[in-house]
């Protein structure tokens, strides 16, 4: 059972699945990024995605009636895409009009758009199909899947792997990853992008140098609506082949968090979206294990909250780090080590949150995990271990200087925590002792690679921290 899951995770099909499930997060994430950069964060992404997903399905189904089955099947998906994007742009225009012209609160108007998208799709679906759950009665189409030329498989070593990952992906997935580059180019290499960013930084200043800030914000919202709509189209015409009530399941909200995590640029956003794709695909994959399906279903949402926390902690660490560096003297290498180690402490503590949640599940619903006799001991072990991991790392997160003041303690904490995680991971492949030793060796290597040794034996930094 475990072996299946593990093999699944390290296969090309799993990477392909990550790309597939990351697409409906990546497209709205880019949408959130653009609107955020322009200073008008588009909260209505979720509703936009739903409206576009439904429009695409309905149009592609009716295209077959309008144009006959042959032509219908050809133009249907593209008609759906165009219609969905048009709806997304229209909803964004509505939001823009309400916020920019009628001075409506951006967030509340966005919430209203979400309700409108969720309710409107269900109401119209009920009208068209008499079904409130899904459009399974409509013979809707999917966007074409792109088949790679077979010569790629003949490339030595990596060819087969690449072929398996990228072959037969929806055209929307390709569009999504191309859009990352397009958005980057637009934001950082065109006058419009400059205007957009300037408007977001300071609207009055932008206006004072002649930028049409209001118009720029309208354009930003429209672009953002179009991107979110494409994400919705992928949900109903690629990820699945029908529309389901509230099928986006919060992806439009997760997308609001990814740009933060990605450092506010398109490539970082893409990386963050892939991370969420990984969590999503992972949740689907371990759904095959005999554990309650609710636990893996929590993963993407917990990951989002954790991402918000990690981002916030890291921002705080960076500020703290800058303040320290301004007062202290030392080589650049030592400072770099300090920064990496502080980030490592944050990550090590945050991963333990998953353990806490798992142990809460074990304690609260032992029947789901094979009865009291199994669940409680495991719950006790996991919760103690997780709390300990958070507890030992916390002092170094709360006071960055401790890493310098007590380098040996910091090293012990870092290496032991890392060993636990890595050993747990290696346990999936090797015997316990081998896993423990391997984990220890890897942790030592990583710690040394970050320059931890330098802090212990090297120069001591002189800090002039005023109390």
């Amino acid at each position: 059972m475990f072996e299946n899951v593990v093999q699944g995770i390290f296969s090309a099909t799993f990477l392909a699945a990550i790309l597939r499930v990351a697409t409906p997060i990546l497209l709205p994430s880019l949408a959130a990024l653009i609107s955020d950069k322009a200073g008008v964060i588009h909260i209505g992404l979720e509703g936009t995605m739903l409206a576009a997903a439904f429009t695409g399905v309905a149009l592609s189904a009716y295209a077959q009636q309008w144009f006959g089955p042959e032509t219908g099947r050809m133009v249907g998906p593209w008609l759906g895409l165009v219609g969905g994007v048009a709806i997304g742009v229209l909803m964004a225009l509505l939001l823009g009009f309400l916020h920019l012209r009628l001075k409506a609160d951006l967030i509340l108007a966005g919430i209203a758009l979400n309700i409108l998208g969720s309710a409107g799709t269900v109401a119209i679906m009920f009208e068209l199909t008499g079904d409130r759950g899904s459009t399974s009665r409509l013979a809707s189409l999917t966007m074409p899947f792109i088949t790679l030329p077979t010569f790629i498989r003949d490339i030595p070593l990596i060819g087969g792997f690449i072929y398996d990952v990228f072959n037969n992906q929806s055209v929307m997935t390709w569009i999504a990853f191309i859009a990352v580059f397009v958005v980057w180019f637009m934001l950082y290499r065109t006058p419009f992008g400059l205007h957009l960013r300037a408007t977001g930084e300071n609207m009055a200043a932008a206006q004072s140098v002649g930028i049409r800030a209001i118009r720029t914000r309208y354009y930003a919202l429209m672009l953002s609506g179009a991107l979110a709509a494409m994400g919705g189209i992928h949900m109903s015409m690629g990820y699945l082949n029908m529309f389901q009530r509230d099928m986006t399941a919060g992806r439009g909200f997760i997308a609001l968090a990814t740009p933060l995590l990605g450092g506010g640029n398109p490539y970082g956003t893409a990386a963050a979206s892939l991370m969420f794709g990984f969590f999503d695909a992972f949740a689907i994959r371990i759904g095959t294990l005999q554990i309650p399906s609710q636990v893996p279903q929590m993963i993407p949402y917990v990951a989002t909250v954790m991402a918000l926390v990690i981002y916030a902690l890291q921002t705080r660490q960076t500020q703290r780090f800058r303040a320290l560096r301004a007062t202290g003297v030392g080589s650049a290498r030592t400072w770099r080590t300090l920064q990496s180690l502080s980030v490592l402490h944050v990550l090590l503590a945050m991963f333990a949150v998953i353990g806490v949640i798992l142990s809460v599940g074990l304690f609260a619903a032992p029947n789901g995990f094979g009865g009291l006799a199994v669940a409680y001991p495991w719950g006790a072990v996991i919760s103690l271990a997780s709390l300990m991991l958070i507890g030992v790392n916390w002092p170094f997160i709360a006071r960055l200087e401790r890493i310098l003041e007590q380098p040996i303690l910091s090293a012990a904490v870092t290496i032991s925590s890392l060993t636990i995680y890595l050993a747990l991971f290696l346990l999936l492949f090797f015997s316990p002792i081998a896993a423990l030793l391997g984990g220890l060796a890897l942790s030592l290597l990583l710690w040394a690679a970050l320059g931890g040794l330098g802090l212990i034996v090297g120069e001591k930094l002189k800090l002039h921290v005023s109390t």
């Binding site: 509340l108 269900v122 949402y301």
Partner: protein, 576 residues
């Protein structure tokens, strides 16, 4: 001058009291029937009528509070709701555009009657025989749109051609014509008169006014004739009229359905009680200008904790079980609100995203416990066992879910009002809400305030959960709430986040929600209409410059007439 202020001071409360009495009287009259005698008799015959009258008095009271607290703004709230309802009417009408289709679909039969002897020969019909089919059958690939039947006739035969609905359910509106062998139309009809209905009563036994009869036509020659029958084509006025009347029927159920019977009234009141809690929860965070929608998750935890206690403490006295369960639900809500509060206050995590994510986590956790711990092994669906009687909120009105939760709601309204208007924390919440930087400058601990606002809001949301589990469902079910946090947003916004107005807006919105349920049941219009109306209400309320926008439009029109102001306006436009 003192006289003026005295009238001012008394005028509004008097008006409010008047409205309160009017609404209470209206609700009672709708509920119990028309004339005074009827009313007294039915009140006497209804179980727990005193409680019903008391609750209706509270309904009136909340209307009075609404008028008193909001004065002129109340008018804007009412207008907003009316405009949103009109939008909803248009949506419903567009959904009902197919209402006229009933006249072009249905089973029909055709019969040719004659006294004369039928000629020998091969044809579809002989005199006195019937043939039929079904027009535009739904879900059929190539539906029947028109039908033709042949019959043989002799010269000077007097025939009557009858086309009629074949069963009681069929409402098809028929049009029939008689054609000769060359296809030329000899006679046609699309209606049936009273006399014809009487004459052919044994054939037209359903007395459908949409049937069509060609009466006593004398055939010109021997030969083959064709009866051509089809549904009367629809015209735009018919489609619009049908759609309008179907929508009017739907809206009648929507707007008055909740007052039809006591059990429907109870659906309204119990839903309003939940919405009061949720609306209060949202109003507290909105007062601090935190867009937290965590009420949903807090509600799930409140329901879970109170449900578990109600199930397991059933042997104890209800005086112990209910307070303990309610307090635990409040605590659970507090803690689940504290978490995003801390994340926001101390780490700056966006509260909208974090609460929505935590909601899903809470819901999954609830489902986990429900599925694996609380579901009886024999149950075929995922739900806990029904709570023992000691674990249910005692009902006020027998056989309904209107329970003592109403008193809890009254207390909650008062306490939240006290908290916001009369305590230091409330003052800080209002300060942070109006300007967080200024509040910090003035010495308010904004982090603590934000955190506590979100946590205190969780207390009230937890109460909503306790009400859902112990008062309404009286067991734990999956999807115990479907997006109630969003309903709370509209309730709080309509009330302008004023706790004293929330009972009214909750009642108003619950009235629409209950009406929408009955509309879906009785008129087959999707319940989601009410959520569309909800979205429109939020949009209209937040669009602060809406009134100004229309004034500007009018001013622009007026100025466009006078040429003198035209030029400078254009110039001004170029700068924008």
């Amino acid at each position: 001058m003192s006289q003026v202020s005295a009238t001012r001071r008394l005028g509004l409360p008097t008006l409010a009291a008047l409205f309160a009495l009017l609404v209470a009287a209206f609700v009672n009259i709708r509920l119990f029937g028309g004339s005074l005698n009827d009313l007294i008799e039915r009140v006497a015959n209804t179980a727990d009528s005193a409680s019903i009258l008391f609750v209706n008095l509270l309904v009136g009271l909340s209307v009075g509070l609404f008028v008193w607290q909001l004065s002129w703004s109340a008018l804007r709230v009412v207008l907003t709701v009316i405009v949103a309802l009109l939008f909803g009417f248009l949506f419903t009408m567009s959904f009902n555009l197919d209402a006229a289709n009933q006249y072009i679909q249905g089973a029909f039969e055709v019969r040719v009657l004659s006294e004369a002897a039928p000629p020998e020969g091969d044809a579809d019909l002989a005199y006195g025989e019937e043939k039929g089919g079904e027009f535009n059958k739904p879900g059929v690939r190539n539906p029947l749109r028109e039908a033709e039947y042949t019959f043989l006739g002799s010269a000077n035969d007097v025939v009557s051609v009858l086309a009629y609905a074949a069963n009681r359910r069929s409402t098809v509106n028929l049009e029939v014509s008689l054609r000769d062998a060359q296809g030329a139309e000899l006679a046609s009809a699309n209606s049936v008169s009273e006399a014809q209905l009487a004459r052919f009563g044994d054939v037209l036994r359903f007395r459908n006014p949409n049937d069509a009869v060609i009466e006593d036509f004398t055939l010109p020659a021997d030969g083959l004739y064709t009866v051509h029958v089809r549904p009367e084509p629809l015209t735009t006025p018919i489609i619009l009229a049908e759609s309008f009347s179907a929508t009017r029927f739907a809206y009648e159920t929507f707007l008055l359905g909740a007052l039809g019977r006591v059990n429907r009234w109870a659906v309204w009141i119990q839903d309003a009680t939940t919405l009061i809690f949720v609306g209060l929860a949202i109003a507290i965070v909105f007062r601090a200008r935190q867009f937290s929608l965590g009420a949903e998750g807090q509600l799930y935890f409140g329901a879970l904790i109170s449900g578990v206690l109600a199930l397991n403490l059933g042997t104890f006295s209800p005086w112990l079980v209910i307070p303990v369960a309610i307090l635990s639900a409040m605590t659970a809500g507090f803690l689940w609100g504290l978490l995003p509060g801390m994340l926001k206050a101390y780490l700056g995590a966006n509260e909208l995203v974090s609460t929505l994510m935590l909601n899903t986590v809470a819901i999954r956790f609830y489902e986990l416990i429900l599925t694996f711990e609380l579901k009886p092994p024999t149950a075929g669906y995922i739900a806990s066992a029904p709570f023992p009687a000691n674990g249910q909120l005692p009902p006020l009105v027998a056989e309904t879910q209107v329970s003592i939760a109403i008193f809890m709601a009254m207390a909650a309204v008062l306490l939240v009002w006290l908290l916001i208007e009369r305590t230091p924390l409330g003052y800080e919440i209002r300060m942070v809400g109006s300007n967080a930087k200024f509040a910090a400058y003035g010495g308010v601990n904004t982090r603590r305030t934000i955190m506590l606002a979100m946590a205190v809001s969780g207390i009230v949301a937890g109460l909503a959960g306790a009400h859902l589990s112990m008062g309404i469902h009286r067991m734990l079910i999956i999807n115990i709430s479907l997006g109630l946090a969003f309903e709370g947003v509209v309730v709080a916004l309509l009330a302008r986040n004023n706790p004293l107005v929330i009972p009214f807006t909750a009642l108003l919105y619950a009235y629409l929600r209950a009406g929408a349920q009955f509309m879906e049941r009785d008129a087959n219009v999707s319940f989601e209409i009410v959520r569309i109306i909800q979205a429109i209400i939020i949009l209209l309320i937040t669009a602060e410059a809406l009134a100004a926008f229309f004034q500007v439009q009018r001013a622009a029109k007026r100025s466009a007439v006078s040429p003198s102001t035209d030029a400078p306006q254009k110039e001004a436009g170029a700068h924008v």
